[in-house]
């Protein structure tokens, strides 16, 4: 770990004012940043602690949605009654992630910004385009069982590791960010970049911009949602494949359906292809399979991760089955 200066932000404007300082990183729960600093992957010269910023509320919005402060801890969000009742997919996704200790620390904003678990990104002995642009990707010809099959490029195949963000993408969440030029709102599906030739650029945040909150739109009455995560062991592991489904039914037909996949994409993967297959169609095993084929139609397997394509399809089929059979 490289030596760094530590400052505590007292208010949002102060944080944003300092935010564009070269070498500055905000720290919230620290569950990604501190790890990566210990590994010399992140080497900030100044760390600004935003834990005392007043961004800890979960509140209803005027149009019936939910605004979640950036500093709301994952545990608090997962156990919030409004979330559990109104957005079960989000609570399920949060509780499937990490461990209770990590969830107690991790913040909503920080979870959105967590870095990939790619072995080669985390070890400075290896070339990595995300960490050191232009140095090459070690995962493409390396051991890539946990890597992405969707949204990859010849420069990077790392997955986005968040469960929470997958549920939020399916919920069509938006992110409120604030910088020195003011506040803006970005739909979460547009918040992340696919790696392309610049895997070091992961999202739309400009230097110094701070996530203020995440807003979930109001869901139509009777909307059902579900998150299913597949992995090797039963807990404490990133997804090999996961599916978040938010569905509004009219009888046996999908009136509206939103689908996102985790563990398989270079970003939380919204699948409009699968949605198109299902929307205004009947909930049936055949249609579920068709939708899952559509969701993975652009998938590209590497040496060790071909199984993820079939696993993701089956995970999505099961999630759709569960969400449509709920009482």
């Amino acid at each position: 770990m490289q030596a760094f200066q530590y400052k505590k932000a007292n208010d949002v404007d102060g944080a944003i004012g300092a935010g564009s300082t070269a070498g500055l990183k905000f720290v919230a729960g620290g569950t990604t940043l501190i790890d990566l600093m210990k590994l010399n992957v992140e080497r900030p010269t100044m760390v600004m602690d935003i834990n005392s910023l007043p961004l800890t509320k979960i509140e209803k919005t005027a149009d019936g949605g939910l605004r979640i402060g950036a500093m709301v801890r994952n545990s608090d969000l997962a156990h919030d009654l409004t979330v559990q009742k109104g957005y079960p997919v989000l609570s399920q996704a949060l509780l499937s992630g990490a461990s209770p200790q990590l969830r107690n620390m991790a913040s909503t904003g920080g979870n959105l910004l967590q870095r990939t678990r790619c072995y080669y990104f985390r070890d400075t002995a290896y070339p990595c385009n995300k960490r050191n642009p232009g140095s090459g990707c070690s995962a493409i010809d390396g051991y890539n069982r946990i890597h992405a099959v969707l949204g990859t490029s010849e420069h990077c195949i790392a997955t986005h590791p968040s469960d929470m963000a997958v549920a939020m993408v399916a919920l069509e969440a938006s992110v409120q960010v604030k910088g020195s030029n003011g506040e803006r709102t970005v739909p979460l599906k547009d918040f992340y970049f696919v790696p392309g030739s610049t895997p070091n650029r992961e999202n739309v945040l400009a230097p110094g911009e701070l996530i203020m909150s995440v807003t979930l739109p109001r869901l139509a009455d009777g909307t059902r949602s579900y998150y299913l995560k597949r992995r090797d062991r039963a807990s404490y592991e990133f997804a090999l494949a996961s599916a978040a489904v938010v569905a509004q039914m009219q009888g046996r037909r999908f009136q509206r359906i939103r689908i996102a996949l985790g563990g398989v994409g270079t970003k939380p993967w919204r699948s409009t292809e699968a949605e198109t297959v299902l929307e205004s169609h009947e909930a049936s095993a055949q249609n579920f399979r068709k939708a899952s084929e559509a969701a993975l139609s652009g998938a590209k397997a590497m040496h060790d991760n071909a199984f993820k394509i079939e696993l993701a399809k089956r995970t999505l089929v099961r999630a759709l089955t569960v969400v449509t059979s709920a009482a």
Binding site: M1, A125, R230, R233, S235, E237, L311
Partner: protein, 745 residues
């Protein structure tokens, strides 16, 4: 002995210290003025160091010294022998030369005032290598062209194999596994003049002491090893590793105590692992399931610098009755750190292959897998021709089958269901050989009414402290709370390594005899005490019960508490000492060398249920039963803990664990607890363990055997057999993974 504490469920006497954080583990000892050593480790697996540039790091704050092969006094190579208790983990001393044999080998040590300073400076040491292609997988190297490293044969297996009407030919692979005890390795070295104290976390205080003396070139009396608590080891702390010597040399260099804590990443490289083992098993049997031939060709890796045998030949030749057996095993050197025993070494990979093969053979024979085991039951050890000292495996099979409900098993694949899931039932045999090593124990009865037992052996979390207290309590009648136990210190009477499940069987006879000797010393004092109630009475007419000395045929109430006798003689205490070991007759009636006439093994059976959700390829272990014939159980609580803990490890071995080397670099790429999967609580099902509790008095007076390892053997094949039963997929290369099960349904 029915009211004896031995055999009951006794709470660990050190439990409170541990759960309240007062037990000081290896690097937790508070040593004044300690400096911190952080290793720089190689990022190549094969080649040499061309240049080490320390100029930038040396100027960093707090840096005291940077040691490497270019500025380091060579150490000695240890003579190394298991029998002499002087075996190193890696025989090459650190910084011996510029050569690099494996990824994660120490190439420099930075010593600084604080850990952070040392860590930071270590990341600024620039090492330039000349790298050669590393060889980290068996398939990268040619098949061995040499005579086997070990073998066993009887009859004519090749010929018999041709004739057997029902044949099985399959290859099984167990991957590299890393021990990963919770407490990582680490050493604090502190010099006082020319005397050295090493605070360690070791499974072998005496062994560490002996090797330290050899490697550092110091007389043994100048070295003191302290390891009172060990946060488990699973084998990787049996033998010392290079960081211990680096701490010693570093402390001498900077003239301050130095602490070297091995980080989790290097736990995967420089402190041993279980090597990959590939077993080509061929079986032939008659139509009614009698084995006529067994062959096992075993290939395993070792390191470039050391030989290491993961012996799968032994189990192949002793487990079943079969007239024609041939097993041979080869070691293949690769660019990995030196392997070391991991819980159930040899038998664990061997039984994965053998028990899987038996399950497969049973399917070919259309026979119940348990019935096949019974038809080939070994009534004696056919590899040595010796009778078993005590074997009740048939009993274990039967009790297990009844308890598990095995007769309800429908052998048809995928035929048993529960809700949306398919159930699979599997079983396997488990076995572990019983050893006993020498132990010296001192027991002192003290004038405050307590007892104090001591031995240099260590408690690695398995309950050895409590075993000592129980035996002393059993012999004296003192409550366990009145027995203090000191272990894990080389200044105490020498004791065995905690390995091979031998510690309990090794120390129990010596504790027992030492306690008897201490009691006799008090009795003699009583009979000599001029004013005492027993003056002049023949010591043979006296005994001690419930801590009271009394006349043999009178009630203990008529006697006197032993401490009063000590007090009346102005004695602080009286000692009893005893030695046990193969060469000693350690208790009255001990068969001693008679033991050599027997083959001594523990046995047992695992029964496992898995539930498989085919659509989402989710496999879970849902029920487990182990029935163990492990001699007399000294402490039901800690024994149960050993078996269930081993089964949890078995679930990890069967379904999750694998150290993956990147073939380009030789780097274990999943070298942390997020990427190297072990079973977590949520993976652990309802588990049950039954001990048959037949004393094996050939081994010792109490009939106790060690039970630390047997629980892991056989687990993985019980799981893969259950998995086959559920899915129709036979996983012959561990671990079972989602991708291997995708083909089903």
């Amino acid at each position: 002995m029915s009211s004896s504490i031995v055999g009951q469920a006794v709470t660990r006497i050190d439990g409170r210290l541990k759960v309240t954080g007062q037990a000081a583990y290896g690097v937790e000892h508070r040593i004044q003025n300690v400096a911190h050593g952080v290793g720089v480790s190689s990022t190549i697996a094969n080649g040499r160091i061309v240049r080490i540039d320390t100029s930038e790091a040396e100027k960093m704050p707090g840096v005291l010294a940077i040691l490497h092969h270019g500025n380091f006094d060579r150490m000695y190579r240890p003579a190394g022998s298991l029998e002499e208790m002087s075996r190193p983990g890696e025989s090459r001393p650190p910084f011996e030369d510029e050569n690099v044999y494996y990824y994660g080998q120490f190439v420099a040590l930075v010593i600084a005032n604080t850990f952070e300073q040392a860590q930071d400076a270590a990341s600024h040491v620039r090492v330039q290598y000349e790298a050669k292609r590393p060889f980290v997988r068996l398939e990268q190297v040619p098949a061995p062209n040499k005579s086997p490293d070990t073998q066993s044969s009887r009859g004519n297996a090749e010929a018999a194999l041709q004739q057997g009407p029902v044949k099985l030919d399959a290859t099984y692979v167990t991957p590299v596994e890393t021990h990963n005890p919770m407490e990582m390795h680490g050493t604090i070295a502190a010099w006082e003049g020319d005397k050295l104290t090493l605070y360690e976390t070791t499974q072998g205080v005496v062994n560490h002491h002996n090797v330290a003396s050899q490697v550092l070139g110091m007389p043994p009396e100048s070295i003191h090893i302290v390891s009172p608590f060990v946060g488990s080891g699973f084998g990787c702390k049996l033998f010392p590793w290079p960081h211990s010597w680096l701490a010693a040399a570093g402390a001498r260099h900077v003239k301050r105590p130095v602490k070297v804590a091995v980080p989790r990443t290097l736990m995967f490289t420089t402190v041993g692992h279980r090597p990959l083992v590939q077993q080509h098993v061929r079986l032939a049997a008659t139509q009614d399931g009698k084995l006529v031939a067994m062959m096992n060709d075993v290939l395993q890796h070792t390191s470039v610098v050391d030989e290491y045998l993961e012996n799968c030949v032994d189990a192949t030749s002793m487990l079943y009755s079969c007239p024609n057996v041939k097993a041979q095993q080869y070691e293949v050197p690769l660019n990995v750190g030196t392997p070391t025993p991991m819980r159930g070494p040899g038998r664990t990979p061997a039984l994965f292959a053998l028990e899987s093969a038996m399950d497969e053979l049973a399917i070919k024979l259309n026979m119940d897998p348990l019935e096949l085991r019974l038809r080939n039951y070994a009534e004696k050890d056919e590899s040595s021709g010796k009778p078993w000292s005590s074997k009740h495996l048939r009993d274990a099979y039967q009790k297990g089958a009844e308890r598990f409900g095995w007769s309800k098993r429908n052998p048809k694949v995928g035929s048993m269901r529960k809700g949306n899931e398919i159930l699979g039932w599997g079983m396997a045999t488990c076995t572990w050989p019983c050893h006993a090593a020498g132990a010296d124990v001192r027991v002192r009865l003290l004038s405050d009414g307590s007892a104090h037992a001591s031995c240099a052996t260590q408690d690695i979390g398995t309950g050895t402290y409590t075993v000592f207290a129980e035996i002393v309590s059993d012999k004296t009648g003192l409550p366990v709370e009145k027995v203090k136990v000191a272990l894990g210190d080389s200044s105490l009477p020498p004791g065995p390594t905690s390995g091979g499940s031998a510690a309990t069987a090794s120390v129990v006879p010596a504790i027992s005899k030492a306690t008897e000797n201490a009691i006799q010393a008090v009795i003699k004092a009583a009979s000599k005490a001029p004013q005492g109630p027993f003056h002049g009475i023949d010591p043979k007419q006296l005994k001690m019960t419930q801590g009271r000395i009394h006349i043999v045929d009178k009630s203990p109430d008529s006697g006197v508490p032993f401490q009063e006798i000590l007090a009346s003689q102005h004695l602080v205490g009286l000692d009893g000492k005893a030695t046990s070991g193969r060469e000693h007759r350690s208790y009255p009636g001990d068969p001693g060398p008679e033991r050599e006439k027997y083959s001594i093994h523990s046995f047992g059976a695992h029964f496992c249920e898995v539930a498989f959700d085919p659509e989402i390829v989710r496999l879970r272990v849902t029920r487990w039963l182990s029935v163990i014939d492990g001699g007399r159980i000294i402490n039901q609580k800690t024994a149960r803990n050993q078996i269930l803990g081993a089964v949890v490890m078995g679930i990890g071995m069967g379904m999750l664990e694998e150290t993956v080397y990147d073939p380009r670099t030789g780097h274990p790429i999943n070298n942390n607890f997020a990427d190297y999967m072990v079973a977590v609580n949520a993976d652990v099902p309802e588990m049950e363990c039954i001990f048959l509790d037949y004393p094996d008095t050939v081994l010792n007076e109490y009939g106790a055997r060690g039970i630390g390892e047997i629980g892991l053997t056989g687990c993985a094949s019980a799981i893969t057999s259950a998995t086959y039963h559920a899915t129709g997929i036979r996983v012959r290369e561990l671990p079972i993974r989602i991708e291997k099960l995708l083909a089903s349904a």
